[in-house]
């Protein structure tokens, strides 16, 4: 900064040449006869300033700043407390929510288990009933088959007797029956 350099050089010149300049130019600052007046006014003015600062200004400003810091601290504390409370409420809410969710899923599981049990019970019942009906039907079919088979022997004997009667003229039904029985037994694998 050229301005700064200029100033510095003037300052250096002034300081080096100060004692000479003071005498040559009669620098008013070195006029010792004017010292007492200046010192008198300095002491008076500074004393007044010091008194005003120490008694009136500084304690008041200090108190203001302190009370402001207290207020800010109190506000910060209150905010912190509110924040903590909000956080605690949030945690509680989360807990309640998790509990409700657990309960709900328990209920759903119970309900679905109950439904499944009911369905399988019904299924069992139906299949049992159907099984019984099928068994009954099979039994009936078996009986009819036996009956039919039994009827088949009699019928064959009758047919054979009738055929023999027509062919031979007479036939002993007992003999025919025995022959048919034997033939049936022989025909069986």
């Amino acid at each position: 900064m050229p301005v700064q350099a200029l100033r510095t050089s003037v300052a250096a010149a002034a300081l080096i040449g100060l004692p000479f300049a003071a005498q040559a130019a009669g620098m008013p600052q070195f006029d010792l006869t004017r010292f007492p007046t200046q010192i008198f006014w300095l002491v008076v003015c500074f004393a007044v300033l010091y008194f005003l600062m120490a008694k009136a200004v500084l304690p008041k400003i200090g108190k203001t700043i302190e009370s402001r810091e207290h207020k800010i601290q109190a506000d910060l504390d209150a905010a912190q407390k509110a924040n903590d409370a909000a956080r605690a409420a949030g945690v509680e809410q989360d807990k309640a929510l998790a509990e409700a969710r657990g309960q709900a899923s328990g209920l759903i599981r119970e309900a679905s288990e109950a439904a499944a049990a009911q369905t399988s019970a019904k299924l069992h019942e139906v299949s049992d009933r159907l099984g019984a009906e099928i068994a009954a039907a099979e039994k009936r079919i078996g009986e009819q088959r036996t009956q039919t088979l039994a009827g088949l022997g009699t019928m064959s004997t009758e047919i054979a007797t009738a055929v023999l009667g027509k062919l031979v003229g007479s036939a002993d039904p007992a003999q025919v029956a025995r022959a048919v029985d034997e033939a049936a037994k022989a025909g069986k694998p």
Binding site: V3, L6, L15, Q29, P36, T37, Q38, C45, Y50, M53
Partner: protein, 242 residues
Amino acid sequence: MASPLEQFAIQDLTAPLFSIGGHHIAVTNSAVFMMGAVVLSSGLLLAGAGKGAMIPGRIQAMAELFYEFIANMIRDNVGSAGKKFFPFIFSLFIFTLFGNILGMLPYGYTFTSQIAVTFFMAMVVFLGVTLIGLFKHGLHFFSLFFPHGAPLFTAPILIPIELVSYLSRPISLSVRLFANMTVGHVLLKVLAGFVIALGFFGVIPLVVLVAITALELLVALLQAYIFTILCCIYLNDALHLH
């Protein structure tokens, strides 16, 4: 053209009011600006301290800025032991600062450009600090003149050096402020003379003059700060030795 040093002359504005030890005391131009600095600074600071509002206005913010500035300076440089001296250090800063700034006003008078004023302030600080150190530490205070941990045989060299540096404190403290303010105002006066002398081309020194005025405002602030912080450092030395 008047000598650029003429502005520093002390002039009586009234007849001598009374005399102390054969010296006649009159209200001088320097005294008027001292009173002005006291009235203006106390007025501003009293107005700033007045309401003590939770949310400060401009003047209150300025007063609090000064307060915190000096309070921090003392806390950083002196520590908690410096609290007692807060009003004094604060007054010293305000007095120097307003003296420097008021001197920047046209037709103003810079009482801080007077070696009588700066040297007296520096001497009060120097003697006060020395007495505080002596009262606090007794004869142990003189260990200040021998750096802690230095080999004993260096004492014949170190003690005179430390002693001279200690004794030159009021001189360096006062000459720094006095010389800075004097040089600044001499420079402004010389440049202002050029502006008139060069006629149309005086525009060039005028531009420089404006720049120098801004610089001088900075110097006014800076020198008040330096004066105050050096007092804090000296106080710290006396309170805590090494």
